[in-house]
Symmetry: C2
Subunit: 226 residues, 2 copies
DNA sequence: TAAAATTAATAGTATTACTTTTATATTTGC
DNA sequence: GCAAATATAAAAGTAATACTATTAATTTTA
């Protein structure tokens, strides 16, 4: 079994039993990604997942308290993976502008290649992030779940990006707001491109309009704030 | 009965019977806004609403096919109301920059005052837009619902805003993307401010950080695109 | 005032998320 | 190597959900 460099720690309170630690746990994660992709989160149930992995509904409940917990786990895994890639891609870049440019590119671009990180298919997971991502926090229980630590990894990612913003312009006063607007905005524009094109812009000559737009947005904004 | 200047037309296919046209219909709308605020959309049911308006679950189904249809109706009413206010506030402004500034302010600022438009409480409706707004389109049926015309009023609003952007800078190439990023981004930042402050920035001295941020974002971006 | 339309009430369906219980494997400590 | 702890599977059950169908009562209107 391959070790994954991305760990969702216990202090996030996202699982009852760490799915990394058993074959069944891994099968739950792998197959839930496939099944949520196929059915959408609302139609996805632990019963159907149990059938798919030739196990039982009640066994899945040993790992995740609810299907909502499982969704948050998957989305969190994605943010942690993004942060990992971000650190990796920018570690040798000394120029702050170049660092930020690379960072914005990574957080806004499509995931098209399966990085084959263990039992997780990143391309399918990316689709879930686009289509179902905001369901992780649009709940009546956000505040409670936030206190439990559910969103720590996401906050850490935003913090890291904000620091890069300040590296380019230490006087900029909205670093967190800018970066969460970019990361969430890019997700939304992807969704619009796919389903509601009237709400977005696509430039045919551009390989990725969403990436270009957000890079321009960030840098034009920072340059005017001296 | 006061006439509402905001009409959700039949070609949006959002209702079975227009709730404006009867007292029961209006009670359904008024009270659903209160009840969704109170319980959140997931815990809200037609059964509970029926009890609240001292009518019956099945009667509500005569107006709205499902609770999802009702939610989309409410959100759509909000977009139409925003557009109405937008047109009203900018109709006499000739300077394109000033027009756009006013527009961005209107679409990003909080609704704190009940405009007392008939039977709709705009402050409560605004809360629903913040907390549940994106549930209107994050569904497996988006494409189908889009074809039915569910999102026409929202698209019209984005179109109108894009035209104002082009009024300021005719060479700007991402008008729709910029405006939907602003409108959706402002909603999300409001939610973060309330529930996940680690993902956003708040400046105490500023009366409304979200408005200031987005105005700056738009204008710095447009000025660098000649 | 009769017909049409609207509303109310009841009861029903299939499915959902999740729990409980019990039995059977599998792993682990000694 | 075997008992004890743990993990898994299976079945059955619960309360609630979203929605439908039917029927009856009430209101509107022609």
């Amino acid at each position: 079994m391959q070790e994954l460099p991305i760990k969702i720690t216990t202090d996030c309170n996202l699982y009852l039993k760490n799915p990394e630690t058993s074959e069944l746990g891994q099968r739950i994660v792998t197959n839930s990604i496939e099944l949520i992709n196929e059915l959408g989160f609302e139609a996805f149930t632990f019963k159907k997942l149990g059938k798919k992995i030739k196990s039982n509904e009640s066994s899945i409940y040993r790992y995740f308290e609810s299907k909502h917990h499982l969704l948050v786990y998957l989305i969190t895994w994605y943010w942690s993976w993004l942060e990992y890639r971000l650190v990796f891609a920018t570690s040798n870049i000394l120029d702050p502008e170049e660092r930020l440019r690379i960072a914005v590119e990574i957080i806004t671009k499509k995931v098209e290649q399966d990085f084959a990180f263990g039992y997780i298919n990143e391309v399918l997971l990316f689709n879930i992030v686009i289509d179902e991502g905001s369901k992780a926090y649009y709940t009546k229980d956000v505040d409670e779940e936030n206190e439990k630590g559910f969103f720590k990894p996401y906050k850490r990612l935003i913090k890291r990006l904000s620091d890069m913003v300040l590296g380019v312009n230490p006087n900029y006063i909205y670093p967190e707001m800018l970066m969460s607007t970019v990361i969430e905005g890019a997700r939304k524009q992807r969704f619009f491109t796919e389903h509601l094109p009237g709400l977005t812009t696509t430039i045919k000559e551009d390989k990725d309009t969403i990436v270009s737009f957000f890079i321009q947005l960030v840098f034009h904004n920072l340059k005017n704030n001296v």
